[in-house]
Symmetry: C2
Subunit: 267 residues, 2 copies
């Protein structure tokens, strides 16, 4: 039972690399902005700058879609907007349900980015009876008892989970059983789904921790300016005594990659 990621293993969908797919929305946004300013054409260089990527990468990305673009001129903005929209499946309407209307769920319900691109909030669902009927962002909240009915009636295939972590898996199971095949998960849990179901995770806490890592590294570098190609700069946080390994019988010295704490165990 594959727990977690369920993307096509290597079956690159119709030849378009996953990394490229992930950038298409970025290009689309930049192109839309140009379109609104009535810019007729754009070069790969300009568009790449607007999207924050390398121009070679952008050209290669577009080459997977086909030979749009005119040498010596650039890309036709309107045409490209259409092609990318079509490729991403944004020319059709995607009904979406949001489950879990707490602070975050409510914020998502009111997020403008939904409606703008073919996504339509079909329903807001919450388990709290007190919420039922209450309008959030203009849409009345429905009770989770009706989850299956809602999904079937509206033909919903994309679900957003904004519940507490504790119930996320249950909600996920119900969504999948009801026919949802794509899930955007905001709950801090690893969701287990059957093959054929895509899960994407948005995890604030993880993002912050990654930033903290780099931040710490920057702070460490600063103090120990230059002292070798790989001197790693052990941060000062080692003031806290590390817990020692529990089942350790022998006294096999712990060895970090750069001379770590030598496992003096306090217990």
């Amino acid at each position: 039972m594959a727990t977690g990621r369920t993307h096509r293993p290597a079956t690159r969908s119709r030849g378009i690399p996953e990394a490229t797919v992930a950038r298409l929305p970025l290009y689309l946004r930049a192109l839309t902005a140009l379109s609104e300013r009535s810019v007729p054409t754009v070069s790969s260089e300009e568009l790449a700058a607007a999207a924050g990527v390398n121009s070679a990468k952008l050209r290669k990305d577009f080459s997977y879609l086909g030979s749009y673009g005119t040498r010596g001129v650039g890309y036709d903005v309107e045409y490209l907007v259409y092609q990318i929209s079509r490729e991403l499946g944004l020319t059709q309407d995607w009904p979406v349900v949001i489950v879990g209307i707490g602070n975050l769920g409510a914020a998502l319900a009111g997020y403008g980015g939904f409606a703008s691109r073919g996504f339509r909030v079909a329903a807001l669902i919450d388990a709290d009876p007190a919420m039922t009927g209450k309008p959030v962002a203009g849409i009345p909240v429905q009770h989770s008892d009706d989850l299956e009915k809602i999904i079937n009636e509206d033909g919903v295939s994309i679900g957003v989970i904004a519940t507490p972590a504790g119930v996320a898996q249950q909600v996920c199971d119900r969504l999948v059983a009801a026919g949802v095949t794509s899930i955007l998960n905001f709950a801090p849990t690893v969701l287990s789904v059957p093959d054929g179901v895509d899960v994407r995770k948005v995890d604030l806490s993880i993002e912050l921790q990654i930033l903290a890592f780099h931040e710490q590294r920057k702070a460490g570098e600063e103090t120990s300016a230059e002292e070798g190609p790989d001197a790693g700069a052990e941060p000062e946080a080692a003031a806290v005594a590390p817990p020692a390994p529990r089942g350790a019988t022998g006294s096999t010295g712990r060895k970090g990659p750069d001379g770590d704490v030598p496992a003096v165990m306090p217990a």
Copy 2:
């Protein structure tokens, strides 16, 4: 001026690959859950299942941190929690400011995942004078005029941008100028930052579009079951007439990778 990503180009921070760093929080979460259940040790297989990754990958990830773990037994949960926390820089306190207290900003302010891991909401900042002083999630909102002062006084190095896209770059610039070196951006814009500043992006709209792509592909596969190694299943959305390239003078037939629309231009 590097617009966008600003991660270490190839200077893998102290030898820990970026991909590994991104997974450490995942492991940490699983380990914390085990710790709360007082589980003393865990094997790479078990932990990998809990974190939703391959066990070999997990072992390799840990090998970058050092030789923790005991062969034949597994990893000591408490010890590993400490080591990963330390590596991620979570043993110290990270004051964080959230700029833009709309729906999303308010939801973030109330998010429990902050406090749990060394992150402390130092201030909520909004440009709307009507918000100033109003408590959100127990913290009074401060006016953006005081942004620089707040950051300096509290030694804030991590900023969260939850403003509308239009002002995100300006806010970003002010944050950076005031000394912030890590930014978590929720605004749907590409931020331009100087070297040495890390930006991570959380973009709901992009995630949904990626899901839509895969969803469309699944739907297409379904209808055209099997008809060749590369027959790509053109979706039915082509009912909408595509805009033709604008500056096209000649009638150079557009050729998509799988026989696209032949650029009949209506104008």
